[in-house]
Subunit: 195 residues, 2 copies
DNA sequence: CCTAACCTACCTAACGTTAGTTAGTTTATC
DNA sequence: GATAAACTAACTAACGTTAGGTAGGTTAGG
């Protein structure tokens, strides 16, 4: 299926050079067809982008849904850790996916309809709500310090995003070690008890 | 000075729509001159961009240099907090600056010469080294948990970046509260002592 | 069983627009 | 009157997009 291959290549280009920096000629050339042939499968450049973005959003939701389900039986603190690591590993496994995700969220193209941005925000909102619920459960169980669960969910998300951005910018290999290190700071703090 | 105004407007456009998404006609129109007149001040679009990027890099270095100097007398843990908050406030004070900074670091334009990216990396490397030194000092003073100082510096930087990205994406107002909340997580951890 | 119609996926050619850039000319300032 | 900074006009190249045509495979009718 050419439409599928177009999406794959388009994802790569959009992630790498951005929407404005990618030309249809680039995409067409990469799969060995000519530029106008793209229009047999997608009605416009934006249409192709939206198709790619749609699968990306789907993938994003699925990843944290799965991560949430996976640690369901764990105590709250371990579950948060699992969530954090699962999401980190998911995006670390595919650098192209990661770059596209960041671009779509942080710098969506000007042509991008508001609906797509809203979809992203809504998705992240749902995710944050779920994480906050885990925080609350952990506090009730006495395994987590009492505090504002919503803010803590945001803080954890910030940490994840910062880590992912760092992983995108620096291409070194020991990301997972740093991911765990980062988690430990969040979990135990950096301050000594008597400090 | 038109050259100055050009840089200011260009910064705004580059931050908002990206390098590829910005046309010289846009920039020229915004300050009330015609497109070719730009060439009286900058030899090309890339030249203008590099001028903007250069000031941005300068500003970036200056901000963390000042933040480091400011808390010099503080104990290590308070100094780290001061560093974190100062940097956060610095970028939060100017959203345009923030957006350009993120774009330059995370998604530099394809035309952007490697030297600029390297300059950014070097600067951040210096910053991380300074932060790591503060961590080490704090550990020697017994005010911070012993641990891998370089990794901890990276973790703190990730946290800052994540927070800034979040601030860029969500335009709500209580950023400073969330910044402090995020810091407290890092400082004290989220886990109870007996958890 | 043949053939006529149709569909899909590609092609070439070309469209109109806009991009960054250059050349040559005018205006204003010191 | 020289110099800097603006202008108009125009160039080339690239963009997304449309039109029209062709080859191959599938379907329907006599």
């Amino acid at each position: 299926m050419t439409a599928q291959r177009l999406q794959e290549i388009a994802l790569r280009f959009f992630a790498d050079k951005g929407y404005d920096g990618t030309s249809l000629a680039d995409i067409a050339g990469a799969i060995g067809i000519k530029k106008p042939s793209i229009y047999a499968h997608y009605s416009s450049k934006l249409d192709l982008f939206l198709a790619v973005a749609d699968t990306a959003l789907h993938d994003y939701r699925q990843s944290w849904r799965r991560a949430l389900d996976k640690g369901e039986a764990l105590p709250a603190d371990r579950r948060l850790q699992s969530l954090f690591e699962e999401m980190g590993e998911h995006f670390l496994a595919d650098r192209t996916k990661l770059a596209f995700w960041i671009r779509l969220w942080v710098f969506p193209p000007a042509d991008c309809p508001a609906g797509v941005r809203d979809a992203f925000q809504t998705l992240t909102g749902e995710y944050l709500a779920e994480v906050a619920a885990v925080f609350r459960a952990g506090m009730e169980q006495g395994r987590l310090r009492p505090g504002p669960a919503d803010d803590l969910a945001h803080a954890l998300f910030s940490l994840l995003v910062g880590f992912l951005i760092r992983a995108h910018a620096y291409q070194d290999t020991d990301h997972l070690r740093l991911l765990r290190q980062t988690w430990d700071c969040f979990m135990f703090g950096i301050k000594t008890e008597d400090g």
